[in-house]
Symmetry: D2
Subunit: 226 residues, 4 copies
C-alpha cells in the first residue's frame, strides 16, 4: 500500500519515497555514545520509547518521507502552516487551468461549545444534503465563470479567484519523522478539522509501514511528538 | 506612516511593532571582531553594503518586524509559503463568521509567453469589467449560500468551503530583516503575481522607514537578499 | 536588571532588546476570532494557560528577545544546536585575538548511572581543586602557545586550535518566546549540563521580567514548551 | 565512492544514504504545471538551470542526503551554524570518553589584509613545523590531563573542558540539495576557512555522484545557491 484514497475519487495521499528505518533513528541517537546497533531488537525498541518520552527529537530527523497529495484548498491552507521540516511544491493556478474537481462533504456537522472547547456533532441527513447541494452548485457556477473568463482571454491567475475553497489542488510534501509527528500530533487530534484529520490518518498509515517501531512508540506516548 | 492601504477599502498592511536599527545590524556583524560602533556613519554604511553583497545574512536577523495584514486568500496562499523566519496567526473560518469582503480586480490582465518567461499585459476595459462583474457575482452568490448554510445550523468551517479565493482574511506576520528581504526579493519581482507585489511594495515602504540604510543597501544590491 | 553574572567575572547574559508583551501573545491568538483585548486581566491569563497546555505555539512567536552572552565554548557548542527561531552572531577566532578568559569550575562532579539515567553528585573538595588546577594549567600553557604562534606570524585561525574548550566566547542570540521556551525546557532540566543550566536560568530570569504572565503559565505547565 | 578521507587518518566524510534524483527535482518543479517528466533529457537540464538561476529553491528540497562525518571541533563549530534544512546528532563528551585524535595542520598560513578582504598565504616550512609541534604538544598534555581527571573520578563532561579545539568529534548530518547548496556556496568559497573548505569539497564530490545534473547547473551558476 503506497496510496490511500481519502475522499474518493479526488482526494488521496501517496508516499512516493522514503528513506530511513527505525534502526537509523536508534543509530542517530547512539552516535552520542559513539556506538551503533547492527539490528533492531528489544533494546532498540526501548531506546525509541525513551527518545520520544524524553523529547529527544533530533534522532528522528535523519530520514525522509515524500508524499504526493491531492486535497481541497481549505485543507491545504491549514497544512501549509507547518513550516519546520516541511517542503512543498504545489500546482499553480497561475500556470495551469485547474480541473473541475471539488470536495463535496458526505454529511454536515454542527458546532457547539466555546472557543477552546468546541464539540462537533453530526447534523441531520437533510442538513447534509443541503450542504452537499450548495457546495456542488457554487462549485459549478464558479467553474463556469472561471472558464468563461479564460475564454475571454483573461489570465488564469485572475480568473481562478472566483473558484471556491473546496477546489482540489495537488502538491508534494516532504518531511522527516520528527516533523511528521508534530503534524500528526496536531492534525490527528479530535480538535483538528475533520477533513485534515482524514489526511493525517492516511499519512499515519503510510508512515507506520515505513517505520513501525517509531510509530508504535509514538502511539504509546499518546501521539505527543518528541 | 504605519499603515498602507493596498486595495482600499479592504486590503491593507500595517506595521504594529519593530525593534532593531541599521546600527544593530552593524553591531551584530562587528561582534565577530569583538567591536561595536556607537553611531551610524559612512563606515557603517559600507559594512551594510558589504554584508548584503557577500551574502552574510545572519547579522540581519537580530531585529523584529510585526505586520498586521488584510489580504485576499489567493494572495495569502502564496505568502504563507514563506516558512523560514516567518511567524503567522490568522483569522479562522472555523471559529468566526467571515465578513463579506472580497477583492474585486480594478482591471484584467492577459498572460502570454511560456512557463518561465510569462508576460502580463493590461486587458481591455471590457475585459476588466467582465472580470470585476464575475468576481462580484460569484462572491455575492457564494456569500448568500454561506449565510444560508450557517442559518441552517451547519458548522462555520463547513459552510465557508463555498466561499471564493478572493475572500479577505486577516493575519499577523512577524519576521526579521533577513526573512523580509527574501520575501521582497521574490515578491517585488516583475515575475511575482501583481496582487502580492502590491503588498510586498507596501511592506517595503514601511520597512524602509524603520531601517533606511539597510533598505538602501538592499536596493543597491538589486533587491537580491543576503 | 538586564544583565546577570553567570560565572563571574567572565560569564554573563544580558538582555539587550525585547519587544512584545503578554498581551501581544493573547492578541496574536485572538486574531483567529477576529478579536482583540485592550488590557491584560484574568481572562487573558486563562488564555495563556490554555495556549501553553494545548501546545498552540504560534502566538508566542510574535515577539523578540535579543541576548548578549559571554560563555565557554563547550557551553556554546550545546547552545548553538538550537536552530529553529534562534539567530546567532559570534566573536570569530579567525578575525580577533581571543582574550585569556577561561571557565574554571568551582567544584567537581561525579557521574553515575547509565545512558538515559545519569546522576551527578558533588565530588570532594580535593577533586574540585584538582579539576580547577588542571583547567587553569592547561589554559595557561595553551594560551602561551597561542600567543607564540601568532607572534611567529601564524594566522589567528590556525593558532587558536590549541585553545581549550573552556575558552570564553561572546555572541548575540535572538529568539522569541516560543523558541526560548523550547530552549528552557531542555536546558533548565535536571538532565541538562550544569553550566548551560546556569545560563538558561539567567535567561529565564531576564525573560520573566519582560513577559511575566507567559513565564508563569510556562511554569504552571511544568516548563513544557507549547 | 561513498567515503572520502579529508585529513587522514582521522578526518573523513561518508555519505550513508541518499534519496532523490535530478529527475525528482524537475518533477517537483513541474507539479506547478500539473506535469511530470518520465526521463531526464535536454529539456530537464534546462529546467534545472532555470530553477537555480531564478532562485526557485523549493524543488531542490524533496530529496535527502545523510552524511557521517569526523572532523575537528573548530570546524564543527562553523558547520553547526547552518540551521535551516540541516539535522545533526553528535558524539557527546558528556557520555563517552573522547579518543586521542587531534587535527595537526600540514602547514601554516599567514593572514594579511583587513576585515572583509583577508588573504591567506602559505607560511614557511619552519612556521608549519612550529604549528604542528605546538598543536601536537598541547593535544598530548591536554589529553593526559583529561585522562587523569577521569581516573580521579571526575565526570567526563567536566574533564573534557581541558581538551583543545582540534580534538576530533563525529556526527551525522542530514540535509537536502537546497540546504547543501547553501552550505557549499559559503564553505567552498575562497573566503571560507581552509579546513571546512576541504570538508565542503568532499561533500560536493559525494553529492555530484548522486545528483550530477543539479551539481552541474549549480556550478554553471557560479556555485550561487537558489
Amino acid at each position: 500500500m503506497s496510496k490511500i484514497e481519502v475522499f474518493p475519487p479526488n482526494g488521496w495521499v501517496a508516499i512516493e519515497a522514503h528513506n530511513g528505518t527505525d534502526l537509523d533513528v536508534v543509530n542517530a541517537a547512539k552516535v552520542s555514545f559513539a556506538k551503533q546497533s547492527e539490528e533492531f531488537g528489544f533494546e532498540e525498541e526501548r531506546i525509541l520509547e525513551f527518545l520520544i518520552r524524553e523529547k529527544h527529537g533530533s534522532p528522528f530527523e535523519h530520514n525522509f518521507l515524500k508524499f504526493h497529495v491531492r486535497a481541497p484548498i481549505f485543507v491545504v491552507r491549514e497544512w501549509h502552516r507547518h513550516r519546520i521540516g516541511f517542503s512543498y511544491n504545489e500546482e499553480s493556478g497561475r500556470y495551469v487551468e485547474l480541473r473541475p474537481d471539488f470536495y463535496i462533504p458526505q454529511g454536515a456537522r454542527i458546532q457547539t461549545g466555546r472557543p477552546g472547547s468546541y464539540t462537533f456533532e453530526d447534523a441531520s441527513p437533510e442538513q447534509g444534503e443541503m450542504l452537499a447541494a450548495a457546495a456542488q452548485l457554487q462549485a459549478d457556477t464558479a467553474y463556469n465563470s472561471y472558464k468563461e473568463l479564460m475564454q475571454a482571454g483573461i489570465a488564469k491567475g485572475q480568473a481562478r479567484i472566483v473558484l471556491p475553497l473546496n477546489t482540489y489542488t495537488e502538491f508534494y510534501c516532504s518531511c522527516n519523522a520528527r516533523s511528521l509527528m508534530n503534524f500528526l500530533h496536531l492534525r490527528m487530534s479530535p480538535h483538528a478539522m475533520y477533513e485534515i484529520r482524514c489526511y493525517a490518518e492516511a499519512m499515519h498509515k503510510l508512515w507506520e509501514q515505513a517505520m513501525p517501531a517509531t510509530a508504535k512508540a509514538f502511539k504509546a506516548n499518546g501521539f505527543v511528538a518528541p
